[in-house]
C-alpha cells in the first residue's frame, strides 16, 4: 500500500517537465518523507560573480520535495497543491555542489498537510535553507 503510494509519487515527480529541466532526481520517498537532489548547473546561477545558485531554484527544489512528501504520506489521498511556503536562507549554496532537499510531511488533516523541509549541499550539518509549508489534500 505505502510502497504503491511511493511508486505513484515517484512516477508523478518524474513526469514534471520543470523538475526534469532542473535535473531533479528522487533519492528517497515514502511514509511522508521525500528527498530530491538537483545537480549544480551554470544556467541556474543567480550571482554571476560568485557562481552561487539562485534562491528561486532552491525554492523550486524545496516546493517539489515538499509536495512529494505530502503525496507519499499514508493519510494523504493523492494529489496536492501548495497553499503557502516560507523559506529561510541561511547561507549561499557552495558553487559546483549539488543541492539536496529533504521534506517531512509531519501532519495531515482532512484538508491540509503540514511540511518541514531542509536543503543542504555536501555539508549536511549546515543547511543552505529551511522551509515550512502547508499543502492542500485533494482526492
Amino acid at each position: 500500500m505505502t510502497a504503491d503510494k511511493a511508486r505513484i509519487a515517484r512516477q508523478f515527480i518524474e513526469l514534471i517537465p520543470h523538475a526534469k529541466a532542473l535535473g531533479m532526481s528522487i533519492t528517497e520517498i515514502g511514509d511522508g518523507i521525500a528527498e530530491i537532489t538537483m545537480p549544480y548547473d551554470p544556467r541556474l546561477v543567480g550571482d554571476p560573480k560568485s557562481g552561487v545558485i539562485h534562491g528561486g531554484a532552491v525554492s523550486t527544489l524545496m516546493d517539489t520535495t515538499s509536495g512529494a512528501s505530502v503525496m507519499s504520506h499514508p493519510a494523504s489521498p493523492a494529489g496536492t497543491a501548495t497553499i503557502d511556503l516560507r523559506i529561510d536562507y541561511m547561507r549561499a549554496a557552495t558553487p559546483g555542489q549539488a543541492i539536496t532537499a529533504r521534506a517531512t510531511c509531519h501532519h495531515v488533516t482532512r484538508s491540509v498537510a503540514f511540511v518541514h523541509a531542509v536543503a543542504f549541499d555536501d555539508d549536511r550539518e549546515n543547511p543552505v535553507a529551511t522551509g515550512t509549508g502547508t499543502f492542500t489534500v485533494e482526492g
Binding site: 513526469l15 514534471i16 517537465p17 520543470h18 523538475a19 526534469k20 529541466a21 551554470p42 544556467r43 541556474l44 546561477v45 543567480g46 550571482d47 554571476p48 560573480k49 545558485i53 539562485h54 534562491g55 528561486g56 531554484a57 525554492s59 523550486t60 527544489l61 524545496m62 516546493d63 517539489t64 509536495g67 497543491a81 501548495t82 497553499i83 503557502d84 511556503l85 516560507r86 523559506i87 529561510d88 536562507y89 549561499a92
Partner: protein
C-alpha cells in the same frame, strides 16, 4: 537664474534602459526562466513568458509553484536593485560601460521568502510587480504580486526580506 536645459528624452531613456538591461541580462537564472522587464519611468513590470519547461503539473496543466515563487523572488531582487541604482542612473554617476561589461552592483541577498498561492498558474504569460515597503541600510522588506489575464485576480503574492549589499563608499 536660468535652469540647465533638461537632457533630451532619448538620452535619458537610453541610459535607463541600458542600466536595466545590464542588471537583468547578467543573471543566468533570469535568462533560463525567460523573465524580461518592462519599464515605465522607474516602475518595472516583470514578464514570465510561457514555456513548456515551466510546467509543474502536466495533467492540469499548470506552471510549477517553484517557478511562480522564483518569478516573484527575481522580481523582488531586480526591483530592489533597480531602486538602489536609480539615483546613480539619473545623475549619470553610474558607470554604464562597466555595468554593461558585466561589473554588476552587488545584489541584495534573500533572507526569507513567503509565497501564498492564490490560483493555479495557467500555461500562459505571467506578470509581476514589487512594492518596496521598507528599504533600510541593512534590511529591506518587499511585497510582490503576480497575475496573468486579470490584474485583479493575482495567482500568487509574496513577502520577502533582503539583506542589503554593503556600500563601499
Amino acid at each position: 537664474m536660468a535652469r540647465p536645459a533638461p537632457e533630451p528624452v532619448q538620452v535619458v531613456k537610453q541610459r535607463r534602459d541600458a542600466a536595466l538591461r545590464a542588471l537583468v541580462d547578467g543573471v543566468p537564472y533570469i535568462q533560463f526562466l525567460g523573465i524580461t522587464f518592462e519599464r515605465r519611468g522607474d516602475e518595472l513590470t516583470a514578464i514570465l513568458g510561457f514555456d513548456e519547461k515551466l510546467i509543474g503539473n502536466p495533467f492540469l496543466p499548470a506552471i510549477h509553484g517553484g517557478v511562480t515563487a522564483a518569478f516573484l523572488e527575481v522580481t523582488g531582487i531586480i526591483c530592489l536593485s533597480w531602486s538602489l541604482i536609480w539615483e546613480e542612473v539619473e545623475s549619470g554617476a553610474l558607470n554604464l560601460e562597466a555595468l554593461e561589461a558585466g561589473d554588476l552592483p552587488r545584489l541584495p541577498k534573500t533572507i526569507n521568502f513567503t509565497v501564498d498561492y492564490l490560483r493555479s498558474g495557467l500555461p500562459r504569460d505571467a506578470y509581476a510587480r514589487a512594492r518596496i515597503t521598507r528599504s533600510g541600510r541593512r534590511y529591506a522588506s518587499v511585497q510582490v504580486e503576480a497575475w496573468q489575464d486579470n490584474r485583479d485576480r493575482p495567482i500568487a503574492q509574496a513577502q520577502a526580506h533582503f539583506l542589503m549589499p554593503r556600500r563601499d563608499d
